[in-house]
Amino acid sequence: MRNIKYSEALSEGLVQAMERDPGIFVTGIAVDYPSGIFGSTTEALRRFGPKRVFDAPAMENALTGIAIGAAAVGKRPVIVHPRNDFMFLAYDMMINLAAKWKYMYGGNAGSVPIVVRAVIGKGWGQGASHSQSLQSTLAHFPGLSVVMPAFPADAKGLTLAALTHGSPVVILEHRSLYDTTGPVPEEAVATPIGKAAVIREGTDITIVATSFMAYEALHAAQALADDGVSAEVVDVRSIRPLDEATILASVRKTGRLIVADTSWELCGFSSEVAALAAEKAFESLKAPVRRIALADCPAPVSHTLEKVFYPGATTIAKAALVMLGRRDSRLGEIDRADHFKGPY
């Protein structure tokens, strides 16, 4: 299988879905720019033209309602938000309407299968209002599927799945992932929504992670292996629906759980998984569950603060060593250098 970039995988998934379904169109700020949302919409524009890939003014609230209205009569709109944070303006439409459409009309009003893509910012001082990660807030609401592809194959696979799904799907894409590469099948292979993936097998400890933190967790697991620790990494992929079975099977196997998420702890995804383990795998746990999340404050800009605000591979690996009582480890900083300087 060839290796391609995350951004290319997103693009390939979109293009293949658009080839099959002429009802798919893509809109949102900057989708038709040469930069094409880090290259993920450029090919779709080239292939299908401005009738199906077109810019939108900054109008997140109405645009989402417009997409829902188009979906109600048979289209499959994809809305792209260059940052998660702008999506807050669309929450009324997404949550009060799209998430509930099928249910509150008793299934008699059809479905509104919109796809909302939004980018999570990180680094270079993007700060309090441009680097939030909204999975927990969205996944709270029944009716919305929320997915977070971490690797190129799932970037493509979840795009394909979202674009054939029977109800609204939110795809959260982490800015740090667009240039990462990995094996991706050339055919249109969907990643099932609601299925986690064990991306590394291990026996000592389970690390359940979302999005960029899955990438960090894998790096941590490799470093831990050098230290004789066998870590299993579960890339959760779907926040809602949540694949409880895969998570619980891993926890029952290793007896230890770290949950690493790209957002905050309180009422957040990491807490959800910790609760799941406490409720359904209590008898297997050999240690308290450890949540790894953002520091409990808005994202600061200054570099000295940003460095301590974001957890990374080092945080995960050290937490694992502590949980395993490995005081003899000499594991130091394992975080990869952060070369990010934009574009945002």
Binding site: P34, P57, A58, Q126, A295
Partner: protein, 339 residues
């Protein structure tokens, strides 16, 4: 050439009767803002300021023209492209520069970065980069001023792209129905990021007419003529203080640099606007135009202009050094000010 062909189309040009000391003040304030922005943009290329930055080079006339017409107690809200308004209203230069360097002496102590500026001591309430927020905020402060029977005015600076957001019209309507003392200043620079106006608003759109639809009186101004902006702001402020409610100013202007970052678009081979269009607008430089008027009115000599320029350069040089020497925020303070 799209934008410039429709230009100039102001409803009332400058009268040329601005008092000499004000005319000089307008020029010197603009010169200071221009030099600060150009210096920051040049330094930004060193990649030591880690904060996405929207430079306002070319748009100084709007910020300075409006802010010079305000009274000290009036308050200003601004958006992502905010350095011009912050400085024009009298915000601390060290506060700005140190903020961009992420230091403790920054106006937001290095926590906020380029798009979250504040200097309450001069009424620069805050900049917020989520489009449209500042419009509602200014209307809210105006509501408070009216409740207290104060003659204070709240100002919101926002781009024409922000006029695509619904919150703007909810705010217009509310301000109008309640006759609130708010000055709504739209900087029409013809682009939102890389999207030209024609793709976002029906052809022939007059933003002033949108405001008028809410019974807000509105005026279109040549935003690159600081004197015209100043006089239009004065007229609008007089009406506001006379209790006539919100006023809208559309100021046509142009951003010289890329949307976010220190480069010219042509340096990055961007094609959403032509280099010729940018250069034609650079010919309409608001700072040069104000300088020429001072010379023409005999209010300054070329040597005088040069001297003022040296002063702002010296000030900026000293402030940059001071900002770079300012301490980094200590990680132990990460949780300060959360609640």
């Amino acid at each position: 050439m799209r934008a410039i062909s429709s230009f100039p189309d102001p409803e009332q040009p400058a009268t040329g009767r601005i008092p000499p000391e004000v005319e000089v003040g307008l020029y010197r304030n603009m010169l200071r803002v221009r030099n600060a922005e150009e210096t920051l943009a040049a330094l930004y290329r060193e990649k030591e300021m880690r904060t996405p930055t929207h430079f306002g080079v070319g748009q100084e006339g709007v910020a300075v023209g409006v802010c010079e017409a305000l009274l000290p107690g009036d308050v200003v809200y601004t958006h992502h492209r905010c350095h011009t308004h912050y400085l024009a209203k009298g915000g601390s230069l060290l506060g700005l520069v140190a903020e961009l360097y992420g230091r403790e002496d920054g106006c937001s102590r290095g926590r906020g970065g380029s798009v979250h500026l504040t200097d309450r001591s001069v009424g620069l309430m805050g900049s917020s980069p989520i489009l449209g927020q500042g419009v509602a905020l200014a209307v809210g402060s105006a509501l408070a001023f009216k409740m207290d029977g104060a003659s204070t005015v709240a100002v919101s600076f926002f781009g024409e792209g922000t006029c695509d957001e619904g919150v703007v019209y909810e705010s217009f309507n509310y301000a109008s129905v309640n006759k609130l003392p708010v000055l709504l200043v739209c900087e029409n620079n013809f682009y939102a990021t890389e999207s030209p106006l024609e793709t976002r608003q029906p052809s022939g759109t007059r933003l002033c007419d949108r405001a008028r639809a809410f019974q807000i009186s509105a005026e279109k101004v040549d935003g690159n003529d600081v004197a015209a902006v100043y006089e239009a702001a004065q007229r609008a402020l007089a009406r506001i203080r006379a209790g006539e409610g919100p006023q809208f100013l559309e100021c046509e202007t142009y951003r010289w640099l890329e949307h976010v970052g220190p480069m010219f678009d042509h340096e990055l081979a961007r094609t959403y606007r032509t280099r010729e269009e940018v250069e034609a607008w650079m010919q309409r430089c608001p700072v040069k135009r104000a300088g020429h008027r001072l010379l023409a009115r005999g209010l300054a000599t070329q040597a005088g202009l040069d001297e003022w320029r040296r002063e702002v350069v010296d000030e900026m040089t000293a402030v940059v050094a001071q900002a770079k020497a300012s301490p980094w925020p200590d990680p132990s303070t990460l949780f300060e000010n959360v609640y």
